[in-house]
């Protein structure tokens, strides 16, 4: 059985059909990309998986759980972590604190234990910090550990968001345009990181990305969307040469 399985999902905003009878599945251990022109419904698919939107019809299953039966907060507990297209970090907190929020799903202590800071709370806190430190090491964030997000450059914020998602120790990572706004070198770093995330950590990656260089470099399979519906699915090369995909991007007769 696939790790993530979306069947016949449909979502409408007023008269606009944002996601139209979409079905696809992501296998464990693969890197899967969703591409498509602006407004194709790529981020909406992510928001459906994160349970920010309720689909009109269809089903979403992750790792044997029916996602549609759980509130947004539970999605993280199942092992799905995500980043956002426009960076949603906690601006008035340090990088370290942001990553520690990523550990929230592993919280074992209750309010009273934390208020009194019992030895258990301390042990838990140290365990969280160890896990976060590994992520900081992995993504080379040491120089920024105690800096406030509000003063950081865009590229670093992108990495911090990826780090926060990784800190939660997910089974699957949803990356919403991880390379947008990054320089060529930063994109290259990202490519290696995604490779390592898959190979060393064994995390499945589902990403939305416009940079076809990155997509063809790291992805096993690609799904092309247009107007909320599936255009093509296959290896990056197959999708890139698909006439329907070229038509959606460039118009009729361009091929």
């Amino acid at each position: 059985m696939s790790l993530l399985e979306i069947k016949n999902a449909t979502l409408k905003f007023g008269g606009v059909t944002a996601v139209d009878d979409l079905s696809f599945s992501v296998e464990e251990g693969e890197v899967y990309a969703i591409v498509g022109p602006n407004g194709a419904g790529k981020s909406t698919v992510f928001n459906l998986i994160s349970r920010f939107y309720d689909p009109f019809a269809g089903s979403i299953h992750f790792d044997g759980h029916d996602l549609l039966k759980s509130p947004p907060e539970r999605v993280a507990d199942f092992g799905i972590a995500r980043t956002f297209q426009n960076i949603e970090l906690f601006d008035n907190a340090s990088v370290l604190q942001n990553l520690l929020v990523g550990r929230h799903r592993h919280r074992q202590t209750n309010m009273l234990q934390e208020m009194l800071f019992t030895p258990k709370a301390r042990r838990e806190e140290i365990a969280h910090r160890e896990a976060v430190e590994e992520v900081i090491d992995f993504l080379d964030l040491q120089p920024y550990r105690n800096k406030l997000i509000a003063g950081l450059p865009y590229g670093v914020r992108k990495v911090v968001e990826l780090a926060r998602a990784l800190a939660s120790g997910p089974k699957m990572l949803l990356l919403d345009e991880p390379a947008s706004g990054l320089s060529v070198e930063e994109t290259q770093d990202l490519r290696w990181w995604i490779d390592d995330i898959r190979k060393q950590m064994g995390i499945t990656v589902l990403m939305v990305e416009h940079d076809m260089g990155l997509v063809s470099g790291v992805c096993d399979r690609v799904l092309a969307l247009a107007d909320g519906a599936k255009l093509a699915e296959g290896t990056p090369a197959e999708v890139q040469s698909n006439p329907a995909v070229i038509e959606a991007y460039l118009g009729v007769g361009a091929a």
């Binding site: 993280a76 995500r82 601006d91 800071f117 838990e124 865009y154």
Partner: protein, 361 residues
């Protein structure tokens, strides 16, 4: 600049950054303990007042500064704390139980009130909670058999296992009671900040969408924030009841709510220090004004609205020139001194934040 060479995770977690900081706070605590021997009864009373306001400020700070939920209803929770303590004492419950219980009752009621308020944000939440403050007045009058209505209630002498604390004749004992409560509340607050719950509060404040994506239960976290905040405020209310010597329906008006909110903004939102700095301003402003009036030789003439006017002006000046409050100014001054003479003019300018993801709900 002190450089910290961290060798274990405990270095990051502990209460005080380093020994020097711990020493500073130890000296501060020693000073606070020695205060009754240094001050006369009047100024000791003022110091007690500052501490009580600081406890109430800590309560609201947790909700507004930490979790980002503005509340103008905290005067009602002060009242609830004061009345539940007094009513419990009336029923024969000893102070040592009735006082913490007053905090717990206020906390539970606050959590329940938070449920409908959860759907509101920003200014709408402020308006909704303000109604609680306004309603409190009427509710106190309507429940006259318990609360004494407009006649009010008079706090009896505190009795802890035979150890008596009479607010008027033994101001030093009452001061110590308030000081202990302050230290405990501050410690609880500080502990929360270094634990997952405190970070969840900040996450809800800064971005609800990504907090939810990280597995933070938004409504439960907000309810917890309301609960803890109201519990601390309830304790402050109980102490305020003793301090004023009498509580009735007009002791805790909506003006108190507004003063509390102004206090934490002036002190510095989101910081423990801010609650204390703000408390100094709120507690000493009326005294400062009457002293100033003496200088101008108009002591016999009452000027209506002078206090509120000056307070409002201070608030506006702070929002315009120092949004970080007194504590923010202090931090900047300290860094300036530490770096002297190398501080640059624009060191504290922050980059504007980027476009946020459209609000999803």
């Amino acid at each position: 600049m002190r450089i910290h060479f961290k060798t274990s995770y405990n270095d990051d977690i502990r209460l005080f950054e380093d020994r020097f900081t711990a020493l500073k706070y130890a000296v501060l605590l020693a000073f606070a303990i020695a205060l009754p021997f240094l001050l006369g009864d009047f100024y000791l009373g003022e110091a007690t007042n500052v501490l009580i306001w600081a406890i109430a400020g800590l309560g609201l700070m947790l909700l507004t500064g930490q979790t980002g939920q503005v509340s103008l209803g905290h005067a009602a929770f002060l009242a609830l704390g004061a009345y539940s303590n007094l009513i419990l004492l009336d029923k024969g419950v000893p102070f040592i139980i009735s006082f913490p219980l007053a905090g717990i009752i206020t906390g539970v009621v606050g959590t329940i009130i938070a449920i409908p308020a959860l759907r509101l944000h920003g200014i709408y939440l402020a308006i909704a909670t303000m109604t609680i403050s306004i309603l409190a007045d009427d509710i106190i009058v309507l429940t006259e058999p318990w609360t004494g209505g407009v006649v009010g209630m008079f706090p009896p002498t505190i009795d802890i296992f035979g150890f008596e604390i009479e607010r008027w004749s033994q101001p030093d004992r009452f001061y110590y009671l308030v000081l202990i409560t302050t230290v405990i509340c501050t410690l609880f607050y500080r502990n929360l900040l270094r634990a997952p719950l405190g970070r969840a509060f900040a996450a809800v404040r800064d971005s609800e969408v990504s907090a939810a994506a990280m597995g933070v239960h938004i409504s439960r976290t907000k309810m917890t924030a309301f609960g803890i905040s109201c519990a601390i405020t309830g304790l402050a209310g109980a102490l305020m009841g003793y301090f004023s010597g009498m509580v009735n329906n007009e002791t805790f008006t909506v003006v108190i709510s507004i003063q509390l909110l102004m206090m934490i903004v002036i002190g510095g939102l989101g910081t423990i220090h801010g609650a204390f700095f703000g408390a100094f301003v709120v507690a000493f402003l009326p005294q400062g004004l009457s002293i100033a009036k003496d200088w101008f030789g108009s002591s016999s003439v009452a000027i209506p609205g002078l206090e509120t006017g000056v307070f409002g002006m201070i608030l506006i000046l702070f929002i315009l020139f120092e949004p970080g409050g007194i504590y923010g100014r202090w931090v900047k001054t300290r860094i300036w001194l530490e770096l002297f003479p190398f501080a640059r003019k624009d060191m504290f300018k922050r980059q504007k934040s980027y476009l946020k993801t459209e609000r999803l709900r």
